[in-house]
């Protein structure tokens, strides 16, 4: 039999759906007005009999919802055509696809809302029957057939709400547990295969669709298609309360009960669920925060006893995966306080050893990265400052191996925070003491920069921050005689940038002195100290390519690269102080190059990308620029002020 096919002009169909839904928005307003006015009339007193509201408001609202549902169906079919055309290209006109291709995308629900609700009730009924049969009726095929009943409905809000309300949170957990049982006949514990996980994903998609209908969600979070639906047509908010902890999964359950459901089952389901932001935060506060707070809690890992879900067996990992799907939810959850402790603290303090989640901490690190790189300045910088306080404070350690990279990207997004943590008055004054904020920032950077990749990110961020600052330097002031004035504002900016560089350089120095060999190995630059010296800052490029011009720049600085490298033969690479010295010189070169390039147009150009002629021209410009050298001196002033005091204090 030939496959059934659908034809349409997707553009015309899309316009039809949009026009239908637009027009219905007006009808929804009229419907709401009827409901309100008849309610008011019914509650008013009267000496004569006033007709009651009857079923009219509900019937009208129901009609509008049915019609919106139908318009959404047409829109989804049009989108299905577009997505299929995305694979082959679209040039307008009528196109034809197999119906199976359109449904394969899984985004076309039911045309008739009543049909969707009936399908959901049929699936819920089948689920209850299967649960009642216990292990006898359970098999991968039986579970697959059951979940196939949601193939059309998983994206249909009417189906999803009806199914969710019918089986409740308990039903969702039981069904997830039944998927697990189905693939472990006779108590043979093998991780649930991909086919089982695919089934859980269908269930999670259904849950996601239902959650998007919740009334009272903040703007932009819920489904626009169900925005006008009445409360009774949408998922009840109590469902979220249950998901977030109200439903105690294992309470009162025995191993003889069927299914043997676990808290891990719920976490697996939610790891595949795309919850609205505020709902994801609520669930994470209710389910993830207590896990992180419990020092004895650890995730099951592949190979552990009870490792039924394989790589998906870690509850902390699963809830972090749910959060990590949504950068807004990640950031908001990290900023939330539960019982007086900020969630960010719990994440940063997590560890070491088995306390690291099943995935090694990757999912939690992603959540942190979403937070410290979030688009909201206040949220992002607040999380960055708190990270510095926690890690650079008493903790002085990062336990999660994926966090340094995440936090380094946070540093790159928050250079003004790092800059701001260096106390201006302290920097300008003579007092020798070290402010806590400076010490914490240094200690934080040390822990981050112990990771080679993270160190490169931080150094790159400082380079970019410096270049941006050089681009916007205030003009030098000139006194009445036409001589350069004290140039206070420009000096202050330069010293501030220098202070940031000094902080990072000193942190890097601490790391290098702690373990030069590890540091160089991570930088993948162990083979060539000279390359390391030149390569880290400011730009890439091998020593051979830039050696001549670099020597010229160094000569102008009164330093001989030859002397530096001669003092550091390859076999003595572990001489950390020499590396640190080269690093400082290298930083000075970088500043001169950046200061000179900042006077031109476009981004900074890596030295390695310049031709020999361009390099020589750059050196000539540096030599000729007394301003660059003057600025460099102020930068060095900032660097030394911070690094000297830090070194003295450390």
């Amino acid at each position: 039999m030939a496959p059934r096919r659908s034809s349409a002009d997707p553009a015309a169909l899309s316009q039809f759906a949009a026009a239908t839904l637009d027009a219905l928005a007006t009808l929804r307003v009229r419907s709401d007005a009827v409901t309100r006015s008849l309610d008011t009339l019914a509650s008013a007193g009267s000496d004569v009999a006033v007709p009651g509201t009857g079923d009219v408001p509900a019937e009208l609202a129901d009609l509008v919802t049915d019609w919106e549902h139908l318009g959404t169906f047409a829109r989804d079919v049009a989108n299905g055509f577009y997505w299929l055309l995305g694979e082959v290209g679209y040039h307008g006109g009528v196109v034809t696809f197999a119906d199976s291709s359109l449904t394969r995308l899984g985004i076309v629900g039911y045309a008739d809302r009543d049909e969707a609700i009936a399908a959901a009730e049929a699936m819920a009924e089948r689920f209850r029957d299967l649960r009642a049969e216990g292990y006898d009726g359970l098999s991968p095929d039986a579970v697959h057939d059951l979940l196939a009943m949601a193939e059309r409905g998983q994206h249909d809000p009417a189906f999803a709400v009806a199914f969710s309300e019918s089986i409740g949170v308990e039903g969702y957990v039981d069904l997830t547990a039944m998927v697990r049982h189905a693939y472990q006949p006779g108590g043979i514990y093998e991780p649930v295969p991909q086919a089982g996980l695919d089934g859980v994903e269908v269930l999670a998609t259904t849950l996601s669709t239902a959650l998007a209908t919740l009334p009272g969600l903040p703007p932009g979070e819920g489904s626009a298609a169900t925005a006008g639906w009445s409360r009774g047509e949408r998922l009840d908010p109590s469902f979220v309360d249950e998901l977030a902890g109200g439903f105690d999964v294992e309470e009162g359950r025995y191993n003889t009960d069927f299914p043997v459901r676990t808290n891990t089952d719920l976490s697996v389901l939610l790891s595949f669920t795309a919850a609205p932001t505020s709902v994801a935060v609520t669930i994470a506060n209710g389910r993830l925060t207590p896990l992180l707070r419990d020092p004895e809690r650890f995730d099951a890992r592949p190979g552990d006893e009870g490792d039924d879900w394989g790589d998906h067996g870690g509850r902390i990992t699963n809830y972090a995966t749910m959060l990590g799907r949504d950068p807004d939810a990640s950031a908001r959850w990290l900023a939330d306080e539960v019982r007086g402790t900020q969630n960010l603290d719990l994440v940063l303090q997590r560890g070491p050893d088995r306390d690291i989640p099943a995935d090694g901490g990757r999912a939690l690190a992603e959540v942190v990265e979403h937070g410290v790189t979030h688009h909201d300045d206040a949220l992002r910088s607040g999380l960055m400052e708190r990270s510095i306080e926690v890690i650079g404070g008493d903790q002085d350690a990062i336990h999660n191996p994926h966090l340094p990279d995440a936090l380094a990207r946070g540093v790159a997004h928050n250079m003004p925070v790092i800059h701001g943590l260096i106390d201006r008055e302290w920097l300008a004054g003579d007092e020798a003491g070290l402010p806590t904020s400076v010490r914490n920032t240094h200690d934080f950077l040390v822990e981050v920069m112990r990771d080679g990749s993270a160190a490169n990110t931080v150094v790159g961020a400082v380079e970019e921050f410096s270049f941006d600052a050089f681009r916007d330097l205030p003009e030098p002031l000139v006194d009445d005689a036409g001589d350069a004035d004290r140039r206070f504002e420009r000096t202050e900016v330069l010293e501030g940038v220098g202070a940031v560089q000094g902080l990072v350089l000193t942190a890097e120095r601490t790391v290098i002195r702690d373990s030069l060999e590890d540091y160089l190995a991570q930088q993948e630059m162990q083979g060539d100290l000279l390359n390391f010296g030149v390569g880290v800052f400011p730009f890439g490029g091998t020593a051979q390519e830039v050696i001549g011009p670099i020597n010229d720049i160094l000569d102008a600085q009164g330093v001989s690269l030859g002397e530096l490298t001669a003092a550091n033969p390859a076999e003595e690479y572990n001489e950390a102080d020499d590396v640190v010295a080269i690093r400082r010189v290298n930083n000075d070169i970088g500043n001169l190059v950046l200061l000179t390039q900042a006077g031109g147009e476009g981004p900074a150009t890596p030295l390695g990308d310049l031709t020999t002629e361009e390099l020589e021209e750059l050196v000539r410009r540096i030599d000729a620029s007394s301003q660059a050298h003057d600025d460099q001196n102020h930068l060095v002033g900032g660097i030394e002020r911070v690094s000297d005091r830090l070194v003295a204090d450390l």
Binding site: A33, L38, V50
Partner: protein, 115 residues
């Protein structure tokens, strides 16, 4: 067709006032009539809209049309209900007017006394 509420009667001196939610009734009739008008416009407009998608064929089109057929059947029923409800409220208002006029007459008779 829009429904017209009766004018509120003047209450005669000494007459008991008929308690009737005039404002709420007027608002309800206005809302019901507006819904009837909008629903009628939409029903006609949708017929035109559907004529723009003649190229849409296949199982999903069939499902759409079947669902719309059921929906349009409901639609005409709801239209009738809305109109009936508006008419019932107007009728109640007219009854309130009649009752007020009766009470006005009673008050007039009391004031003029028996002849």
């Amino acid at each position: 067709m829009a429904h017209e509420m009766p004018a509120r009667p003047v209450v005669a001196d000494g007459a008991a006032v008929v308690d009737f939610p005039w404002d709420a009734a007027e608002a309800a009739v206005t809302a019901l009539d507006a819904a009837v008008a909008e629903l009628s416009v939409q029903a006609e407009g949708h017929a035109l809209l559907r004529s723009t998608i003649t190229d849409w064929e296949g199982a999903f089109r069939d499902e759409h049309d079947d669902a719309y057929y059921r929906l349009s059947t409901t639609l005409w029923g709801v239209l009738g209900q809305l109109s009936f409800r508006a008419g019932a409220i107007v009728a109640a208002a007219e009854e309130a007017v009649e009752e007020q006029l009766r009470r006005n007459e009673d008050a007039r008779l009391l004031q003029t006394g028996p002849h």
